[in-house]
Symmetry: C4
């Protein structure tokens, strides 16, 4: 199967922007994406299972099983605003091969829905937390890069690992545009402050005001989910390994 | 090939339940499944070979070679009772990718035969043996979870690795229902007592009385098979490794 | 591509027997197969390249490059004798997945040519060399096992790793018959004596007399080839690792 | 996808020669290929992304993202001269499987364009730099080998790892001809001197004079690109590992 996609609806969308929000360093993307889904009452229209996900089920408090999965949601907005597609999930793929397949599949799906712009979110590992975290970006092209810099980001220096980087790189090869938004974070735990800055920056870009009263609660929800997945612990343990080996944690 | 399936018969079955019984911790599922096959004179109707199985042959006492293989059996029961499909084998797949392919293939096959319910069996590693082992479950949905709890199980907490977890997780994504039944076991050797409790619980669920006089003999048969496969030894050696690395032993 | 097969001829053969002779412990199979090819003037009719072979080229004395490859040869014999298909090569596949794909592909090809019997050859690692090495076998079925025992072999106890085991195991699943012939060998270097005993046993089985005057020369040819491939050295180094990790060296 | 190929033009070419120039030891091939592309104003006509490339994006000074990618360029030359196809990229594939797929795909593409000759370039690791580096070659056949020797190369002894070796080995299996040109290099940094000798040798073979005034600048460009990719550093670190593990660095 490699990637098994189940599309339940093909929504008509207005020039939609894909927002990538899979788990990674500081879970910045994951918190931001889940918060957008909840606050904007996003509608799930596709789910993706990959043979490159971990082969287990995790249990929730009520006993029901949860699988590694990726999901796509859409948000219709008022006229004159670009609609949103939100890429959310509880895992990235475990292998390089799986990451390419997963990312290529998602770009194929959203491109068919008229999407030609990707914003990926990631954490940028920093040893110490800062009240005002640095924001960095890399883009598919110079014009989009200018847009990203105008949002208050600095030029990212270095490699952007995992889906956050791959989605922008592959977007370029798909003749799409987009940028990766990276936020400083110590990275070991879900970082609600970094997510707040990510949401603010995306809000500025998309002219989108999202109430953040419940953001802390969203972060805790991510934390509980991740604990059952063993991801939070995993990251602490991974800390000892070389940064290059943290393959999919941005 | 990935998974090569050889289906020799497509039996007409009455609302069948799939019972997963591959080797894992304590070989609880494996003993239970083989015992059901023998006592209920189950009929083999499919065999599956995967490129993700180990590439060797093992020898039996009489010199004939045995390959890593998975098999599907069916059992027709008296009117008013759900028929059974039993998923038996001497191995799980060696890689995450192979596990997904194998499990997805089996669910496809049984779903085509009208099956919409999966019971997976597994051992839950505990340091010491107990005369009355704890029983745990996780389910695809709350209603099924209630059914599982009513059978005397407690809510499973944590990850369910390997096919035991994957089959319930993928069942949910296949729009099937089911639960995973996990039994406390020290896990190093075929655990006939844990298998007995698994069989009793499944018997209660399916209204199925199975004579257990020969269960010890079945367990010994599994043990001999596993010794030739080197699996029993492997598990003892694996014990030293981290639990997460025991990838397919539940 | 996984396996790219180039078939240059589909020979009509009389009830042919497949003789597997890939490199492995003691290179017993490899020497025996090459010797049969040379002495019986076998004709190459297929070559197979797999993405699971090592990605390099090795050089020969005259500067020409040699790739990892598998080849199939046929030998037509006098009336009343079964023809031969010889499976020769300078490598096995590097991964379990590749081994299954390779072996399945070869069995598909030969089965289409009417072959229903496989003899695989392997070395059985023993710490010390013996003038008269032990011979062991495992077979697809009891009748074939009896045939193998009548040739002077003993029942093999344990796992038969790599293509030697896989080819007999998969043969059974292909509804073919066959046996694996294993010869005691210290295993670090091409073992001409073990190859001699393998050839004698196969000769007895197939009523085939092959001149062995040039066997030492064949063994040296294998040795030179293997040295350029770095295989001989590799095996010595591998010696330090656990036997289970010697994945494809039987 | 394994390899996703995007062909933007199918140029008509005169008996073209493929020149392989992916990153490897000393980046000899990479510098030479990029220099040919720039000096001969080669035209890009295909790009290839593989699921076996690293899953990240790297950033450039202006903030734009760069993905692991391979590209094919063509050069039309004056009448009577063979045209060129240049295989350039910033990475090889990360796995053996990916290398075979990538190389097979490129050979398929160029063969369809009438190409039947491959020249691969590589560095041959030597502990010390030499003003006049040794040149070695291995070829698909004796006639081509003679051509390569006549260019002033010596017979290569040993394995040619990675695409440099694989492309010549697979060329032979594609019924194409060609040779691998290997140049002594200490190998840790882009080696402009080794690239110069490679270009001179290829120039002699193809009757092609290329201005080398800007070669140092090309080498620095490769160096900057590689530093952002982390490849230069990687190689230094890899140095400590066994040479066999330097899988794709020739």
């Amino acid at each position: 199967m490699v990637c098994a996609v189940d599309i339940t609806e093909k929504p008509k969308l207005n020039n939609p922007v894909l927002i990538e929000g899979l788990p990674g360093i500081g879970f910045v993307a994951n918190i931001a994406a889940l918060h957008l889904i909840k606050e904007l009452k996003a509608v799930k229209f596709a789910q993706i299972v990959s043979s490159s996900f971990q082969d287990f089920a995790v249990t929730t408090g009520d006993g029901t099983a949860r699988s590694p999965i990726n999901e796509l949601y859409y948000v219709r907005r008022q006229e004159g605003c670009r609609d949103l597609i939100i890429w959310y999930g509880n895992t990235q793929a475990l292998t390089t091969f799986g990451q390419y397949e997963l990312c290529g599949k998602v770009l194929d799906i959203v491109q068919e829905l008229g999407c030609n712009f990707v914003v990926s979110i990631g954490g940028f590992k920093k040893d110490e937390a800062a009240a005002v975290p640095g924001l960095y970006s890399t883009a598919t092209d110079l014009e989009t890069m200018k847009t990203a810099l105008d949002l208050g980001t600095k030029v990212m220096v270095g490699n952007v690992f995992g889906i956050a980087g791959l989605s922008v790189g592959l977007a370029k090869l798909h003749c799409m545009k987009g940028f990766s938004l990276l936020v400083d974070t110590p990275g070991m735990n879900p970082d609600v402050n970094a997510a707040r800055f990510a949401l603010n920056t995306i809000g500025k870009f998309l002219n989108l005001q999202v109430d953040q009263t419940q953001l802390e609660e969203t972060s805790n929800e991510i934390k509980r989910m991740l604990e059952t997945f063993g991801l939070v612990k995993t990251i602490s343990e991974e800390k000892k390994k070389e940064e290059q080996q943290l393959r999919w944690f941005i």
